[in-house]
Amino acid sequence: MKFDKKAMRANMRTATRTALGEQWSEVREYFEAENRKLIETLKMIALLHTSGKIDDLTAKSLLEGQVLVRESLLLAVEGMTLIMVETTLNAALDSIRKAVNTALKFPLL
């Protein structure tokens, strides 16, 4: 079995970039590292299966495990995005609060 890691990495980068949209530039470094790990693991599962060291069901189970790893990674990014939005919003609210209070010369907000 031929494993074209370069093409696979490029395809994964395109798919991730499309899925993440504007977020891509911020998470690029993170995902590229994770994609490399994912490709290495998939390659290893394929090789072990081809060489008969693991059976069909084990290979399937390890692949499902890899999907779960990806899901967990995306959930971490989702949570971190929420934290980033929360921090940005609170900073904006704080600046509005300060501006209003300064303009009114008493702490209204």
């Binding site: 390890l62 890899q66 967990s72 959930l75 989702e78 940005t88 704080d94």
Partner: protein, 165 residues
């Protein structure tokens, strides 16, 4: 292979905008979108990680044909691991604004179940156990990564904490 379905947060930038508007109308209170850092989560992850890795290292060292490898020999350890995860899941589910962490623990439960089902079927070779171990450790790492970000939220550093290989 199944596809992963998340909530599509990246396409929903109008949600923060609504939150901002409501907050402004509501008297400029601060906004909470994610639960705060919980030291107990980190402790539970560490405890689970220790027990899990102990079992997997032990299984890696046993020959797949040896009788000590049989599932029955390790059933109680698996039960203990399942209990640990159930407790972790219960705590994370109970927190407000904690869906990502709660779902991460649910994914980990599914991964553990795959390992149990595989072991019940046959004794896995060391190479398969090694891959499973790396997958579980990656998942635990993702839970910790998010938890650490809850503690020290610095927007520009969020994604890159621990990203270097």
């Amino acid at each position: 292979m199944q596809s992963i379905t998340l909530m599509g947060w990246h396409k929903r930038w109008h949600i923060p905008l609504f939150i901002l508007c409501f907050s402004l109308l509501g008297g400029c209170t601060s906004v909470t979108l994610m639960s705060s850092y919980d030291e107990k989560t980190e402790q539970r992850v560490d405890q689970f990680s220790k027990s899990m890795n102990q079992l997997l290292v032990q299984l890696e060292d046993i020959d797949a044909t040896a009788p000590q490898c049989a599932y029955a020999q390790h059933a109680s350890t698996y039960q203990d691991l399942k209990v640990q995860l159930r407790i972790m899941h219960m705590h994370e589910q109970a927190k407000a604004n904690n869906t990502p962490t709660h779902k991460q623990v649910a994914s980990l439960q599914k991964r553990l179940q795959l390992l149990i089902d595989d072991h019940k079927r046959i004794c896995q070779p060391a190479v398969a156990i090694n891959i499973a171990q790396r997958q579980i450790n990656s998942m635990l790492g993702n839970i910790l990564k998010l938890e650490h970000n809850k503690r020290g939220a610095k927007p520009n550093n969020l994604f890159f904490a621990g990203a270097k290989p």
